[in-house]
Symmetry: C2
Subunit: 160 residues, 2 copies
């Protein structure tokens, strides 16, 4: 066997400058043709294709569609800091199943879990927080940070 499926942290992958350049190209436009990318980074079309395939199959990179919540009418976003008791993994799983929550992370610090919520309006945010988050087992207290302005959002590591 050469490469078994893993549940957790694989060994760190090293990206050379060419792969970083390819990722930069695909970050600007995920549908740019391999031939175009090849011209930009100085490689043949087939070589670019092979590298992209390796990067995606190893899980280092993904090419995906992302949407802008604001433009779709989801105008209320917030980060919820949660102080919990008991097994925080179970709480995180429960939070992850709520569709209005797009981001859940277990943390060390004065919050045990951070969850980002995306809502259409204040009423939806209020009922989400009260009826479906604060009512979950293990939630001791929450603190809400309503988003006023998203300043930066960057998706690519290892390319700087």
């Amino acid at each position: 066997m050469t490469n078994t499926a893993r549940t957790h942290p694989p060994k760190p992958v090293h990206l050379d400058d060419v792969s970083k350049a390819i990722i930069e190209q695909l970050q600007a436009d995920g549908r740019r043709s391999y031939a175009d990318i090849g011209k930009a980074v100085g490689l043949s079309e087939a070589a670019v294709r092979q590298r992209v395939q390796r990067l995606t199959e190893s899980g280092v990179m993904q090419i995906v569609a992302v949407t802008d919540p604001m433009q779709l009418g989801f105008t209320r976003q917030a980060m919820i800091g949660i102080r919990a008791s008991g097994d925080t993994r179970e709480l995180a799983s429960a939070l992850a199943e709520i569709p209005e929550i797009d981001y859940v992370v277990l943390t060390a610090g004065s919050f045990d879990v951070l969850a980002e919520v995306v809502c259409e309006n204040d009423d939806e945010l209020i009922s989400l927080l009260n009826s479906r988050i604060r009512s979950l087992a293990g939630v001791r207290s929450t603190e809400t940070f309503v988003y006023l302005k998203l300043q930066k959002q960057f998706y690519n590591w290892g390319t700087r």
Copy 2:
């Protein structure tokens, strides 16, 4: 004039079920061919392409490469909550220019700004926090929430 550039919130766009289905397809694989997507959603290849073009040109959707920080050796991530004085927009701009920070949002609540940082190790995190974040003008105090486990990360709104 019909459609001038805007700095802030455009009018909410409505997505019909077909466009949502197209976005779902492209979220699973941003390089899936328009012909394949057409088969999946019951539309001709040309129609899919037109809709994708409209979605991307209007800024509602983007197809981009995203990378996994963990697999690239950036094993320390944290959310920094910042209490600030003065103009928080200037602080947010300054934070956005730090390459190790991938996410900055102005918030209402007990923090004025939230910033997500991605580092290779603890030393990098410590020096980033002390030398380059806490030293910025207007930072009164910070609180750090070190990530233990990322449970959920979803990129697409309007498709649920």
